[in-house]
Subunit: 406 residues, 2 copies
């Protein structure tokens, strides 16, 4: 069979695709640019090329030029946050259709993102740029203490710092603790700390510049530094907060200029109302895409691939039962797993519709986890908050994990 098109997949070494997306890539001729030590494995017939750093623009551009000396590239698939702006740059540079640099930058560079959302009038915490660790103090004075500081570029909840005062930021800047931040080659974003009641997220599919599908969900607890119990619940369509979230999401998509792709956006519910936090053009991590699929039949990962390949995404919702889908992260401390609840035991809890196991007994759990790391994910359908509460208790009541230090 003649390949439908030549697709270039770009990702940093740590990123891995869901299995069904790897399979869906194969009707195309696949070229991959990634880094030495990449976790994703590819079968025969895939041209896998390694570069030192996918996020180095010149490095990536030079390798893509080498690929183009061998074959045409019709589309670039880049469903992860790290390197997404670089892949978009390469698209534009070589005239390859798909998400361009301006949108990808606004959807990965938190400072530029916040500028665009502010211009569009979305409610946000006050923020400022700090070009280096020595500039946090001035930025904090501008936005008001306490502050949350994070690199402008980089996925996930790692490398996030909070400072209560100018003195604390100054002491940090003078200390060795700041060395990793000093080495960063991107600026920092300094945001005024807001008192968060709950955190919410919205996951969508955009095509032709319009939001074709979106679901609002509420996390059980705030994401940053969450404890052992974590997860989120899709809000019913009639929920007034969901309606507000969907409106903010639609405006954020317009503000970033995203024409086609999938989104994951986060929100803070505060005493003064909803605030937009961040928006990304990639599927959410953890169990969110699976929860959305169970609830609506819409496969956000498939939509991500379809939009990247210039195909219309499938966004029609199928009727899949009463209530909405919630999912729970069964977290695990670092070490080697010696005991773990059996997935089948969790499946017997009333309302549970699926369990996904990421780790098994004998696996080694890394020290550096992100907010989506879990030994298992439990998905259940619930038609009330009381039902969510009941499931929450039963699931965590049944969960047992033991690790040994290695």
């Amino acid at each position: 069979m003649e390949p439908e098109m030549n697709v270039l997949l770009v990702h940093v070494k740590k990123n891995r695709l869901p299995d069904h997306i790897v399979k869906a890539l194969f009707p195309q001729f696949l070229t991959v640019i990634t880094e030495p030590g990449h976790l994703q494995e590819y079968g025969p017939g895939v041209d896998v090329r390694l570069v030192e750093d996918v996020q180095d623009l010149e490095c990536l551009r030079a390798e893509v030029l080498e690929v183009l000396r061998q074959r045409r590239i019709d589309r670039i698939f880049m469903p992860f946050e790290l390197g997404q702006a670089q892949a978009a740059f390469v698209r534009e540079y070589f005239g390859i259709p798909g998400i361009g640099f301006t949108a990808a930058n606004a959807l990965t560079n938190k400072y530029v993102m916040k500028l665009r959302l502010r211009e569009a009038g979305l409610p946000q915490a006050p923020f400022a740029l700090a070009a280096g660790v020595d500039r946090i103090e001035a930025a904090g004075d501008e936005v008001g203490w306490p502050v949350v500081v994070k690199p402008a570029v980089g996925g996930g909840s790692l490398d996030v710092f909070t400072f209560d005062s100018a003195a604390e930021a100054r002491a940090f800047a003078a200390s060795r603790d700041a060395d990793p931040i000093r080495k960063l080659t991107c600026p920092l974003v300094v945001e005024s700390f807001v008192d968060i009641r709950t955190e919410l997220h919205c996951d969508g599919v955009v095509d032709g510049g319009e939001v074709r599908f979106a679901k609002a969900s509420e996390y059980f607890v705030p994401v940053l530094g969450h404890g052992e119990q974590f997860g989120s619940r899709i809000l019913p369509d009639g929920d007034p907060v969901a309606a507000e979230i969907l409106d903010l999401h639609r405006r954020a998509v317009a503000a970033t200029g995203l024409e086609s792709g999938v989104t994951h956006m986060e929100f803070f519910q505060t005493e003064d109302g909803l605030l937009a936090s961040e928006i990304a053009c990639r599927p959410a991590g953890g169990g969110i895409p699976h929860a959305v699929k169970l609830q609506t039949g819409v496969d956000i990962w498939a939509a991500c691939l379809d939009t990247a390949l210039g195909r219309a995404p499938k966004t029609a919702e199928t009727e899949t039962g009463a209530g909405t889908v919630a999912h729970w992260y069964l977290t695990v401390p670092p070490g080697r797993i010696v005991k773990l609840t059996d997935a089948d035991q969790l499946r017997q809890i009333d309302g549970v519709i699926d369990v996904v196991a990421n780790f098994k007994v004998g696996d080694s759990v890394p020290t550096r986890q992100n907010s989506a790391t879990a030994a298992m994910l439990v998905f259940a359908r619930a038609d009330s908050l009381a039902e969510v509460e009941r499931l929450h208790k039963e699931i965590y009541g049944a969960y047992r994990v033991e690790v040994s230090s290695e």
Copy 2:
């Protein structure tokens, strides 16, 4: 006096600003990023920083981050073609207003430019991308021989090759003559060769996404490999070709997405009508900006600075006399100039309104010249083609230059 704003000027080492633009930069606090061996000199109070290669994105980005650790950057001024897309990338990355990457790329990367002009329906010679010297043959087969080949990125008329046939391109690719092309880190654009009757240009000022000012001109002879006699004449506003040029220019500006800046666009007049060639977002080289200023009072260089700094450009035309302004390049072979016509002698020719001397007796003229290199530029006002002919003969009749090999 408090500086109005902090301006970062970026340019490769060979580029030089007109003196009045250097002066106009000084009310701002000026930071310059350029390369070792830069020709432009700066006075005290300017923070001049050298990087190995302004066109290396990572290199430029890292240096801008260093600047931001010292001070805010309000605007980036980048009025030259080489490095313009890189400067635009840096603007977007750090959230600095001004020309963004998508527009700058479409206005400097000839392949992407031609894609955008084609999408907008502008008439052009057939073209294709060749990612390397070995791909010229396939691209030529696609667009039709003979072909003109040039690097997709890079200013001026240097490094342009023509091939009559696939065999000739193949022989070139196998030869040592192709070594400089092999070393290029950008792709090539392969265009079908068109039989050019005359070449034309259009020079404009764009603000708020609209063309605020534009003048169409006709070169005396085609630009590429022009001989000793070269120059151009601004077309009268009522000229039908001028009207067509102005319309194509307006559509090209829209196609590239340029919101604010100045343009220089080139056209081919062929047996089958006008073809768009290339459009740049910088002032033209040689005597064109001065000719436009003499004719209309509009200073394209000042408009370039104004738009870069977010100020409204001055585009109102002043009445400056009858006829239109033409200008002639008094070219000079490489070597040391031992004899050169006196500018005052040229000023006495009837109709001549200005003479600009770039070289004087004793100066050394480089071997590698571009299409705008000239010992002197002569500007005259003429109200008919016959008058242009008469001036042409008198000017070149009076011009004498002698060089000695060094």
